[in-house]
Symmetry: C2
Subunit: 155 residues, 2 copies
Amino acid sequence: MFKKRENVAAIEEGKLLSPKFDKDGLIPVVTTDCKTGEVLMHSYMNAEALKKTIESKEAYYWSRSRKSVWHKGEVSGFIQKVIEIRIDDDQDSIWMSVDIGNGASCHVGYKSCFYRSMPLGKVENFEKVEMEFKEKKKRFDPNIVYKNKTNPTKI
Amino acid sequence: MFKKRENVAAIEEGKLLSPKFDKDGLIPVVTTDCKTGEVLMHSYMNAEALKKTIESKEAYYWSRSRKSVWHKGEVSGFIQKVIEIRIDDDQDSIWMSVDIGNGASCHVGYKSCFYRSMPLGKVENFEKVEMEFKEKKKRFDPNIVYKNKTNPTKI
């Protein structure tokens, strides 16, 4: 489907796309905001999601909770327009830069899934590390947008 | 070691750090340049690497090829000074913003591991997708810096 991975030099220094999918058929994807550089999400694609994303220029992912390809925004309306897709040295992870307009990317309601920051420095007790909320206000109410949908977060 | 994961509300909306490590004991980490927002690396930490990173404010990772905790820069000298660490909604991935000065993050010699960009739009043949090099020049010669070290890239 994609170029077969045959040697390290071609994978690292070549021009042909030869992504490595893990034993579950997935590749991790980092999605950033094209305007601010913020990391919006960390997620996964299978080969089909990657192909659909490249061809449609809209983000498709693999949902590990629903076990299916997922067109980002199909429920919330928060489509991600793809501006650029890069792959790393050994072609086993993807960086995608997207335009979300004034939308949001996090199912909890925030713009970015990464809305909490940890304190740095010596820690007395790792069971009590208190983080700071970097986003103060949700962009949407998930109880309205995702009404009757199962929360993908698992303990 | 960290706060036990007990309920979804606390994981998503709480302040306490309760990272989820996968069945191999790892959590994926996205590392970005604090000055430009570029994604530099996608890698993994185990609990020990995360603790060392928080306390020392220098990046430690888990090397899946060497199966050990790895102080980034211990061979190359390209230490990453940690500016901020965030965690995502379900606390199963990390975003770390770092200062690398004029250094580099990629074992192939580039500043970012994500030095190649794919073309977007209709694809005739997915076996022949030709990427563009976005970094034109390596920042160091890996044959000198990593002399006698095994290349971590696997087919």
